[in-house]
Subunit: 620 residues, 2 copies
């Protein structure tokens, strides 16, 4: 039992692992960190002083180099005038170098004090060099990010510590220990890390690494989804996405909604006639050649090689035979390894010989979770789901990929207006949350992606959304939009943009749609022509939320299923909810990925989804 | 614009829609409610007084009848002695009846005061009857639940208000308005709702409805996943599940982990050789008969019918022809309906004729999100995912179905111990959360499912988990377990149960597994034989968490992929993470559904997953 690793002790080592505890200057308390052996950079920057309160702290940090430069120095020796940084107009002054000189060559310290400018304090804390070293020939300034915040830390490494060239390529991972100092440069950094020990270097192969110091366009980044969160833009988007995820749960749970994990695998087509992915479970192919067979082959082939060697006949034939033997031996060892794994799982192994399909009926990936969610609303009251939804549509659209995350809300004892109100509150809550919790990232978005992003979010929070019927929407757009629509057809993106971006300039809720443009389960209004559905159309993005009061009357729903020629059997369980204890209920689907577009001002969902899946494209 | 529905006004109507505002007695403020037109029952019960503070409030409630009884009365008329409730020993007294008499027959009120017992106050607030009514002949006592809490509300309906028989079947939905009164019964209810107006009845077909007043065994309930959350047990489980979902996000986000939605559709087999579901996108079959063709057929068939009618020939032949025409007409109308829907979506319609597969490579449902998550850890630091994971294993096991939700955590700059510490904290946090936030449900679980549930959770919170190596675990179990294991084989459930339930009686973390029993990506220890993997085994459930420090060294990982004969191409992107900026990292997978088992004491995951998917079984 003495083997127990001491997690807390090792983790704590990342802060103040200082071998010299006599840091009388240490102003701030130790920075908390958990489960990772370094100080998260966000905790350095977050208090608004850029980290100045932490000057003097010894920390371990880790991250990836975003950009770097190396400043070569003349060989340093007296006369001291040479030491004074005078060659750089902007750019960081070579303080680190002078600091090292201070500590290592006490004799010239006084000279430096005279010539070295005023905005850095003399470090008293560096350990005396263990062994005499050659004077430093260069210093690297690394901009290092660990993905916790849009800001990067300037990390200063002296060539006396490590070979600098290996640190410079963009994408290099570095874990380093050192002291936080006030930055000498006039630039954006308040503090920098003076590295004393490099603990880890994860190098890159620069010719193969897809990212560089320069900005890579977003469409090119899509080819390397596993690396693109290392860019400041995608990292900011991912942090905003994460905050929005949390906000969706907080809103729902705080309003008493219960989270229900509706199934991804389903036999129910929630939309009626949607393009779906079908699921099959292919049984592992039986090994065509058995391991025993391969071993026999090896023996035979070895015999051939030995024969050829003995007869010393044809050199070429021998090589071919040898290669053949090698290949077969490799195959055998792979098969053995696989068999070991199989055996180790043997306690779980079942009869794998049955040729039938996995499920008794054809199953596919869910298009929408609303129908399944309804069943829980009609038991538990207010419920929500948050998960991936799928569409096999081959349409290329910047607002659509095959796998998208959706928040669905369903409420029993509720009607259309309740759902519209809830959708509005939900959307406003998320906007507010992003502004409050992601201010650094939103500032970055404002500067680098979309100047109107913060305004757009603020205006949503303060505005009262427009509510108009389908008929009204048709009327007001008719004068403005080129494509004229007949009553009973769906709006085009042109119409929606006209409403949200031009006419009302705020979110617009369109309701009471003609029944033919909405799903079979939406409740028929008393006019017999329109249904209790709504879409929330928002500026820049289009339809963000689609909702409805669903048909609670058995005969109406059953009639609609028949009218459309849907496969009745598929919906029997759904009809059951009307057969037994039916009640009015309403809900909506919220396009989560589109919300990330709305918040960031980006225009293509492929840039806000970690691994987007589109027609023809998949590589990981 | 005047058509705008007033959501807030209609919602507010559920509380205090009282037509008589002169309720001087109203003790408590209006109960908040949002988005649904009724007071959520939980808000009535939650303050611990059973709702007594709300006596006198007029509310609208909605829910489903769990059980009901109807008490028939003798025709009520003077002499007043007959009115005094004396026939029921236990069971609710027929207060409602006497109350109605009080308000309607003021002359007998004084008699009732004398005989009517002491524990109810005389209501002064009922409206005078609009029209004279026949004396009530019976009263229904409904136990109504709306799924918000394990408690149900006693709802008292007089037969003068509605036909009681329609309310009595279990599963009936009722929305009713009335006044909350102190309960007259000595039973479990502190208050009850005296109904004044029934707003909605959703009846059931009792012979077809699968639930009844009596408890239906869980295994039978699995056949109706769309109704079973109406049972108190499954509803409690679903509320606990929802709370655990929230807790998982709260722990992660509060510790600075970013949520990443890793893909469900993938080409990467994260386990090496797992049984997977394959995805195909079947293009919608082209309509074999065109609508035009059907219309021609209709014309022809109509002509035949007319001909037959004119010639007045064969009665039978006419009937057949008529039926045939009818069928074809129905087909045409279905096709028209579908076409309308297609047209309405025309702005999104693409070229649907391409026969090729949807994705360029064979895609399947993800087995684990850890590899994809790693890519984001190696950019963003600490990340987590929470989503469905899939296995096409045909093994029947109470701990396994085809689709299960998993929390995955991945941390850069971290090692095995960090992951073990984080897993322990995560698990403890969830246990604590359930005890704090689900106390009513946990009390129900304690009473009806598992007496040890609360103790089990408390003991996790207070215990320090045992940590032993695989070798140690092998040693200590060897003496106790019948099945002897060789070093290098996986533990059976027997071994795991021996460790967690018998020897240590608390969660046990087993680490340093032989490499052959763990995934290819786990980091090889210096001994060359074991890997930096761990399992957390917990009492009653078995392995709840599996984690590892993953191989950050390119050559080691690449070698392992080759050694096992995995398809190298599939893992190129994953190897990239070691090619460029590699770093030590660790993480784990947390079996969310198993956590619900652990909290509730249930033994089969099919009972805690909303719509479980198992081999051969799917129906919705």
């Amino acid at each position: 039992m003495s083997e127990q690793p001491k997690a807390s002790a090792t983790a704590a080592a990342a802060v103040a692992a200082a071998p010299t505890p006599a840091t009388s200057k240490a102003a701030a308390p130790a920075i908390p960190l958990e489960y990772s052996r370094r100080v998260v950079l966000k905790t350095i920057f977050e208090s608004g002083d850029g980290g100045l309160r932490l000057v003097g702290q010894r920390v371990v940090i880790g991250g990836w180099v975003k950009s770097a430069k190396e400043n070569r120095k003349e060989p340093v020796a007296p006369p001291p005038a040479q030491v004074v940084p005078s060659t750089h107009k902007s750019g960081p002054k070579d303080v680190s170098c002078t600091e090292i000189l201070q500590s290592r060559i006490p004799l010239i310290r006084s000279f430096i004090k005279i010539f070295g400018g005023s905005n850095y304090s003399v470090s008293e804390k560096l350990e005396p060099a263990v062994a005499p070293m050659p004077p430093p020939s260069s210093v690297a300034f690394l901009q290092v990010s660990d993905g916790s915040s849009p800001a990067s830390l300037q990390v200063v490494v002296d060539s006396s510590i490590t070979i600098l060239s290996q640190l410079l390529p963009t994408g290099t991972c570095i874990v380093a220990e050192g002291e936080l100092k006030q930055s000498s440069a006039e630039g954006k950094h308040a503090i920098e890390l003076k590295v004393e020990k490099v603990l880890h270097i994860g190098s890159v192969e620069p010719d193969k690494y897809p990212l560089s110091k320069k900005r890579v366009p977003l469409n090119l980044l899509r080819d390397c989804p596993h690396f693109r969160p290392r860019t400041t833009t995608v990292a900011s988007v991912m942090r905003i996405r994460s905050a929005l995820t949390f906000a969706a749960h907080i809103f729902s749970q705080n309003h008493g909604f219960l989270c229900v994990q509706v199934p991804v695998i389903t036999t129910t087509d929630s939309e009626g006639f949607s393009e779906k992915f079908t699921i099959t479970a292919v049984l592992e192919e039986e090994e065509i050649v058995s391991l025993e067979g391969v071993k026999t082959a090896i023996r035979e082939k070895r015999k051939i090689v030995e024969d050829l060697q003995r007869t010393d006949s044809n050199k070429e034939a021998l090589d071919v035979a040898k290669q053949d033997l090698e290949k077969t031996t490799e195959l055998a060892s792979q098969m053995e390894a696989r068999e070991r794994i199989s055996k180790s799982k043997s306690s779980l192994k079942a009869d794998n010989k049955r040729p039938q399909e996995f499920f008794s009926r054809q199953a596919h990936l869910t298009v929408s979770g609303r129908l399944h969610l309804e069943s829980h609303a009609c038991s538990l009251g207010n419920v929500y789901a948050f998960g991936p939804r799928f569409s096999a549509s081959r349409v290329e659209s910047p607002k659509h990929v095959a796998e998208m995350w959706t928040v669905e809300i369903e409420m029993a004892f509720s009607q259309l207006e309740d759902a519209m109100k809830c959708a509005e509150d939900f959307f406003k809550f998320l906007c507010k949350w992003v502004l409050e919790k992601c201010s650094a990232d939103m500032q970055f978005v404002l500067k680098r992606i979309d100047k109107s992003s913060i305004n757009r979010l603020q205006s949503v929070i303060s505005s009262s959304f427009e509510r108009i019927t389908y008929a009204q929407a048709l009327e007001v757009t008719d004068k403005k939009v080129e494509t004229k629509l007949e009553w009973g057809t769906a709006f085009t993106t042109e119409h929606l943009s006209c409403l949200a971006d031009e006419i009302y300039k705020k979110p617009v809720i369109i309701y009471n749609y003609p029944k033919q443009v909405k799903q079979f389960y939406v409740r028929l209004n008393d006019d017999g022509q329109t249904v209790a559905a709504f879409d929330m159309v928002v500026p820049k993005v289009g339809t963000l939320i689609s909702g409805s009061q669903n048909e609670e009357r058995f005969n109406m729903l059953n009639g609609r299923i028949k009218e459309l020629g849907l496969v009745g059997e598929e919906y029997e369980w759904y009809l059951d909810l009307r057969r037994h204890g039916t009640v009015k209920h309403a809900g909506f689907s919220f396009g989560f990925d589109l919300m990330v577009l709305f918040a960031t001002g980006l225009v293509d969902v492929r840039d806000v989804i970690p691994f987007p899946r589109t027609h023809g494209k998949i590589s990981n």
